[in-house]
């Protein structure tokens, strides 16, 4: 049985990958996490969990030992995204890994890609968002390493990955509940969604597909949907009216509010610090995180500040095609968008959200 390392197994995509591999039972999965505390989710299974720092070739080499493939699903700030590439590739080489699957992002083409963009479109390192630029640099570094190394590389570029434990599901639910959700220009823009199980399906195909070494693949759901479609089932489940969300104009976009990723990063930083900093300092950090939320102002939507990232996403007019993945990986999304939404809402209930009007305090 093939042995596959999932680097970043505590993240939402890595975790779901482990879950599906375990469910299907066709590979020997080896979860790799950054520190012992991150083993809580993979340890729901009777699986050995490896600890490795994504910037340390030696610990990665030990973690990849005996693995045929590595799936690189780590999250991080732009610096980590770039700096982790070489250690991971070199460790994979030392461990005689055959193929590395790198989870990049469709945002290498920008949050609102131009019509006609596909995998053949040249990438620019100079993008308004640091995350996008970092993903471009990471892909390019992988390309250079592949030229001198033996490990095959397949790059996957999913769009907006939603589903259980996604910030586009749980994070949006939090925003709706705390009054900070909004849809720029009404959210009628194209949402390049992909349900997380469809992404894992693509990962499985990429592990074995012939003649895909060095190639990148855009990925999405089968259906063309809008941001309203993504938010609607979450609003309904929580008992909120989608049309009650603020709908600021694109012109109101500012790049001052921390992005969702930044806020998650801040929360993660807080989580990691909360045991070791004195309580008053923790309170200050918490307060700072709370300050990152803008107050709800539905009466005057024009004054509602929106991030550039969200504004671009909400007003996107083009969905990059996944035709190459279809052709060369055999990718055909097994889960419909509606089913993905239904499962996401079911997970919200599992996670403790008050769905379907069932307040936990009723």
């Amino acid at each position: 049985m093939r042995r596959i390392a999932v680097l970043g197994a505590s993240g939402f995509i890595g975790n779901r990958t482990v879950e599906i591999f375990q469910r299907d039972g066709d590979v020997d999965v080896c979860p790799v996490v950054q520190r012992p505390s991150r083993a809580a989710l993979p340890r729901r299974f009777d699986l050995p969990v490896q600890i490795a720092n994504a910037l340390d070739t030696n610990s990665l080499t030990a973690a990849f030992e005996g693995c045929d493939n590595v799936i690189m699903a780590i999250a991080g700030d732009p610096k980590t995204i770039v700096r982790s590439i070489e250690p991971v590739y070199r460790a994979a080489m030392r461990s005689n890994v055959r193929r590395l699957i790198y989870l990049s992002s469709a945002s290498v083409h920008g949050q609102s890609p131009a019509t006609g963009v596909d995998e053949t479109t040249p990438l620019s390192k100079r993008q308004p968002l640091a995350y996008n630029s970092a993903k471009v640099v990471a892909e390019q570094q992988l390309g250079r390493l592949r030229e001198i190394g033996r490990v095959e590389v397949v790059i996957l570029r999913p769009g907006i990955v939603f589903g259980p434990r996604s910030q586009w599901t749980g994070g949006v639910a939090d925003e709706i509940l705390n009054g900070t959700a909004y849809l720029t220009e009404g959210g009628w823009g194209v949402c390049n969604s992909i349900y997380v199980d469809n992404l894992v399906h693509a990962i499985k195909l990429a592990l074995v597909a012939p003649n895909v070494d060095g190639k990148a693949f855009l990925l999405g759901d089968a259906e063309a949907v809008t941001w309203r479609d993504l938010y609607l089932p979450i609003c309904e489940a929580l008992g909120y009216d989608l049309d009650g969300l603020p709908t600021p104009k694109m012109a109101d976009a500012v790049d001052e509010r921390p992005s969702l990723a930044q806020r998650v990063g801040a929360m993660n930083s807080y989580q990691s610090l909360r045991w070791i900093v004195p309580r008053p300092a923790r309170a200050a950090v918490k307060a700072a995180i709370r300050e990152m939320r803008w107050p709800l102002n539905t009466e005057n939507p024009a004054s509602y500040p929106v991030t550039l990232e969200r504004a671009l996403l909400h007003t996107s007019s083009y969905r990059p095609p996944y035709a190459r993945a279809e052709r060369e990986l055999g990718y055909c999304p097994p889960i419909t968008f509606d089913e993905g939404c239904r499962r996401s809402v079911e997970w919200l209930g599992f996670a403790g959200y008050p769905i379907d009007g069932r307040s936990r305090h009723a």
């Binding site: 879950e19 375990q22 469910r23 996490v33 520190r35 012992p36 505390s37 991150r38 083993a39 809580a40 989710l41 993979p42 340890r43 729901r44 299974f45 009777d46 699986l47 050995p48 969990v49 600890i51 589903g163 259980p164 434990r165 749980g170 993660n268 989580q271 990691s272 909360r274 045991w275 070791i276 309580r279 499962r343 996401s344 079911e346 997970w347 599992f350 996670a351 403790g352 959200y353 936990r360 305090h361």
Partner: protein, 351 residues
């Protein structure tokens, strides 16, 4: 003064086994403060990792670090604080008790009921104290809530809802922490020990429990427990996975009450139909003249460790309010009963 009181009027001689995160972050500051107050003296420290032991000992007044647990069991030691991994609690506690040393054991008491019973039996047989680190009972907030509920100001309880947890980030030393052999279980035995102890303390013994979790061959990261009390149910959701507000909600016939987990001195309550509710910051009461008034604000979370150890020291000489081994054993039995009747959590999206 009795002979026993005379025996402990000087600082109690304490040893510490296990210098991991809970010792480093919480016990060390409490021990420092109690040493400074002349209440105890830490004379020995053990951890299998000598570096961890040395770091822990550094900020105390010169305890010796020893290379084996047995070396702590010297005649002069009066109290051992067990903060080692739960799998070692039973053996280490029984060895200490049989050596004539009182034990303060960090929660959970043990990884299984059989071990817990052996510990309680050893304490009884050796006539030595066995207290357990369930420090939430030392919070001013949880004590006041208990008094408020018993006073029936809010009426009779009709429903309890608890969510506690979030992404797990306690600085454990190894992923082996997440094994039944080392820790006895997952989130239920970890956070659940605190939650169930608190609910038992507030409301008495539940009549029954229905339990489900998300273990798939390993240890659970999520679980749900429905406790049936005589007149109401408690719905408890624990997680090492995803954060929701960590809140205890109590609905009663006349009003309601909420408490944020681990908030040592605040809670909120209100009466049904009232157009205002109270957010309470607890103070110590003082008497100025004939009337009571507000004194200093009650201590925060960290000081519950001081208070807990103070109570254990007081219990060495006579009566003090501690969580006894047999009390903690009742919670452990409830937990083991949950595991024995476990059903998988409904998780359709996993298919």
């Amino acid at each position: 003064m009795t002979t026993a009181q005379a025996r402990y009027s000087s600082p109690v001689r304490v040893a510490v086994a296990g210098c991991g995160a809970v010792s480093r972050l919480y016990y060390a500051p409490a021990l420092r403060r109690l040493e400074a107050a002349g209440r105890l003296h830490v004379e020995g420290v053990f951890d299998p990792d000598p570096k961890a032991a040395a770091i822990f000992a550094k900020n105390l007044s010169g305890p010796r670090t020893v290379s084996s647990y047995e070396d702590l069991l010297c005649k002069s030691t009066q109290l051992i604080i067990l903060a080692s991994p739960p799998e070692f609690h039973a053996r280490q506690a029984i060895d200490a008790l049989e050596s004539g040393i009182a034990v303060h054991c960090e929660k959970p008491l043990a990884t299984n009921v059989k071990d817990g019973e052996r510990m309680v039996e050893a304490a009884a047989k050796c006539n030595r104290l066995l207290s357990v680190g369930l420090m939430r009972r030392r919070f001013a907030a949880t004590r006041s809530i208990r008094e408020l509920l018993n006073s029936k100001v809010l009426g009779d309880v009709t429903f309890i809802d608890v969510f506690e947890g979030g992404p797990f980030d306690w600085p454990v030393a190894s992923p082996d922490y997440f094994t039944r052999s080392q820790s006895g279980g997952g989130v239920l035995l970890d956070i659940g020990t605190h939650v169930l102890d608190l609910l038992r303390w507030w409301f008495g013994e539940p009549l029954s429990a229905v339990y489900e979790d998300d273990s798939m061959g390993g240890v659970e990261a999520n679980c749900r427990i429905t406790l049936r009390f005589r007149d109401f149910e408690a719905d408890i959701r624990l997680s090492r996975d995803w954060a929701r507000p960590n809140r205890y909600f109590v609905r009663a016939t006349n009003g309601w009450l909420t408490w944020i987990a681990n908030d040592a001195r605040n809670f909120s309550f209100g009466l049904h139909g009232a157009n205002s509710a109270a957010e309470v910051l607890l103070h110590h009461p003082v008497n100025r003249g004939a009337e009571p008034t507000l004194g200093s604000v009650c201590p925060d979370f960290e000081f519950a460790f001081d208070s807990q150890l103070e109570a254990t020291i007081a219990a060495l000489t006579g009566h003090a309010e501690i969580v006894s081994g047999s009390d903690a054993l009742t919670t452990l039995k409830l937990i083991e009963g949950c595991y024995a009747t476990r059903a998988p959590m409904s998780a359709g999206w996993m298919l």
